[in-house]
Subunit: 138 residues, 2 copies
DNA sequence: CCATTTTCTGGAATTACTCAAGGGATGGAA
DNA sequence: TTCCATCCCTTGAGTAATTCCAGAAAATGG
């Protein structure tokens, strides 16, 4: 898999790639933790570097909702979107809402050449909704 | 306007509010510069604090495209979106693409209670497209 | 004009991330 | 397998954006 994109196979890279696959939407710090459980001591710089290399190579995708640090996921190649919980920050995948390229046609693009539409749905996850309604009764 | 949201009227607040109105999509540092041209020396902390207060009060809206610092705009209340240039970071407003609440219906919301759909269109602004085609011929 | 409340100032601290140099591991060739 | 050139990882420092803290000034209400 790494060889497929002309990257050398090293333990940190394998561990980071596995971590992203096993923990979708994990932030850099979490990934560092997972990798260290796997390999022992690994520098944060290595993880940052590997994540960048994997992102450039297209093996992982970097997302960054407003107010959050960078997060990574292994679903690439499909233009899916995300729903983010305002309370706990949980993220879930959402497939394209309408057809294959939803919303890619802006009403007025101001002359921009648009190649991607990134959609972030904001709301509350089921757990937070349940917790709130249980506490406040409404 | 400030009184309308129960905020005290101070010179820094008026200056920040004006700056956001005059410079849509400006980042915090630019706003600090504009405010200081207006009032002389103002602490960055005051500007950060005012921007947060105005955001909470709903007088300005905070946006933060991936890879960019926080930016502020005065268009609030309408659910418009943004198109961002990958080359120079320029931002322009885009009205809702379809109807009044476009894309607000996710194909599978995973049980989330969604209240907002934030769309970021990524591409190249007219200037950058022109510069590239002039340089590379393609 | 005075007391209270809120805001502004100035500095330090935190977080996420980047830059730079050198030793070590990896992949290819013999 | 062995050797070498290349690329990667480690260490350490450094940057940028933002937040926290304590004291002083200003705005508000009477």
């Amino acid at each position: 898999m790494l060889r497929g994109v002309a990257l050398r196979v090293t333990r940190p890279r394998v561990a980071v790639l596995s971590a992203v696959h096993d923990h979708p939407h994990a932030d850099t710090d979490s990934i560092i933790g997972v990798v260290r459980e796997d390999l022992g001591e690994v520098s944060h710089q290595a993880v940052y570097d590997v994540l960048r290399a994997l992102t450039v190579a297209g093996l992982v995708r970097r997302i960054q909702p407003t107010g959050s640090v960078a997060r990574y996921e292994s679903r690439v190649g499909d233009n899916h979107h995300h729903v983010v919980c305002r309370s706990c920050g949980a993220i879930a995948d959402v497939d394209c809402a309408v057809g294959t390229t939803p919303c890619l046609t802006a009403s007025d693009d101001h002359g921009f050449t648009i190649d991607e539409a990134e959609v972030a749905y904001w709301g509350r996850c089921p757990e937070c909704v349940a917790a709130t309604s249980a506490a406040s009764g409404g």
